[in-house]
C-alpha cells in the first residue's frame, strides 16, 4: 500500500476544467465566424494550444506529478517545435 500522500483532484476541479474547455471551444467557433483572414488560423491555433495546456495540466495530471514528467513533456514539445521551424524555414524560403 501507499504510504506517501497521493494527490486527489476534486470532482469540482474536473467539472470546472470541462466548463473552461467548452467555453474555449465556443470561442474558437465564434472567432472563425469573424473573418480575420490570416489571423484566424493563428488565433484558432493559439486557443487550441491553451486547451491542450489545460488538458495536459489537469486531466493528464502533470501539475501534480514529479517535475521529471513536465521536463520530459517540455523537451518533446520543444523538439517538435524545432522540427516544424526547421522544415518550414527550409520549405518556405528555399
Amino acid at each position: 500500500m501507499h504510504t506517501e500522500s497521493v494527490h486527489i483532484t476534486p470532482y469540482r476541479t474536473h467539472a470546472w476544467v470541462l466548463i473552461t474547455l467548452l467555453a474555449f471551444t465556443f470561442i474558437t467557433i465564434t472567432v472563425t465566424w469573424i473573418d480575420l483572414s490570416a489571423l484566424t488560423v493563428l488565433i484558432a491555433l493559439l486557443i487550441a494550444s491553451v486547451k491542450a495546456y489545460i488538458v495536459l495540466t489537469y486531466f493528464m495530471h502533470l501539475k501534480f506529478e514529479s517535475s521529471l514528467f513536465r521536463v520530459f513533456v517540455f523537451m518533446v514539445l520543444f523538439i517538435y517545435v524545432l522540427v516544424i521551424l526547421f522544415t518550414l524555414s527550409d520549405y518556405l524560403f528555399r
Binding site: M1, H2, V6, I8, T9, P10, Y11, H14, A15, V17, L18, L21, L22, T25, T28, I29, T32, T40, V41, A44, L45, I47, A48, K51, A52, V55, L56, Y58, F59, M60, H61, E65, S66, L68, F69, F72, V73, V76, L77, Y80, V83, I84, T87, L88, Y91, L92
Partner: protein, 197 residues
C-alpha cells in the same frame, strides 16, 4: 513483497504518448506545408466538411475526457461504483463520436468524395490533398479512439471486479492518459480541418 513501480509505469505510458505525438506531429507538419502551398484550395475543400458534426464531436470528446478524469478521483476515494458509471459514460461518448463519424463519412462517400473516386479525380491537386489528409488524419484518430475504447473497457471490467482499487489504480491512470491523448489530438484536428472555411 511484490515488486511495483507506479511512477515507472506512468513514465512508460508517457514515452508511448511521445511517440504518438510525433506520429501525429508529422501529419500536422504535412498539413502545414500543404496548406501554405494550397491555401485557397484548402478553404474551398473545407466547405464540404460539416462543422456542426465536428463541434458535437468536440463537445462529446471533452465530456468523455472529464468523466475519465473523474473516474480516477472516484477510485481514489474508494467509490468503484461511481467510477464504473463514469467509465460507462465515457464509452457511450466514444460510441456517440463513432456514430457521428459514420454519418459524416457516410454522407461524403455517398456524394462520391472519397480517395480514388471519380469526383475526386476532377478536383484540383490541393483539394485532393485536403481530402486525403482529412481521411487519413481523422481515420487514424478514429483508430486511436477504438483502441482507447478497448483499453477503457478492460479497465472498466477491472474496476468492476475490484482488481483496480483505491490502493492500486495505475492501469486506470494510464488508460486515462491514452484517452486524454485522443482528446488532445482532436483539439488540434477540429479547428484545422473544420473551421478554416
Amino acid at each position: 513483497m511484490e515488486h511495483r513501480d507506479d511512477i515507472g509505469a506512468k513514465l512508460g505510458m508517457w514515452v508511448f504518448i511521445f511517440t504518438e505525438i510525433l506520429l501525429f506531429g508529422g501529419l500536422f507538419l504535412v498539413y502545414a506545408i500543404m496548406r501554405s502551398s494550397y491555401s485557397t484550395e484548402f478553404h474551398q475543400a473545407a466547405h464540404h466538411l460539416n462543422a456542426f458534426i465536428g463541434t458535437i464531436n468536440t463537445v462529446v470528446l471533452l465530456i468523455s475526457s472529464a468523466t475519465v478524469a473523474m473516474s480516477i478521483t472516484a477510485v481514489q476515494k474508494g467509490n468503484n461504483k461511481l467510477a464504473v458509471i463514469l467509465l460507462v459514460i465515457t464509452l457511450l461518448c466514444a460510441a456517440a463520436f463513432m456514430i457521428n463519424k459514420y454519418f459524416e463519412w457516410g454522407h461524403k462517400i455517398h456524394i462520391g468524395l472519397y480517395p480514388g473516386s471519380d469526383l475526386m479525380l476532377t478536383l484540383s491537386h490541393g483539394q485532393v490533398m485536403f481530402f486525403s489528409l482529412y481521411y487519413f488524419m481523422t481515420g487514424l484518430h478514429m483508430f486511436h479512439l477504438v483502441v482507447g475504447g478497448i483499453i477503457l473497457t478492460i479497465v472498466l471490467i477491472k474496476v468492476q471486479n475490484g482488481t483496480i482499487n483505491e490502493g492500486r489504480y495505475v492501469l486506470l491512470e494510464n488508460g486515462g492518459l491514452y484517452w486524454h491523448l485522443v482528446d488532445l489530438i482532436w483539439i488540434f484536428l477540429f479547428p484545422l480541418l473544420y473551421l478554416i472555411t
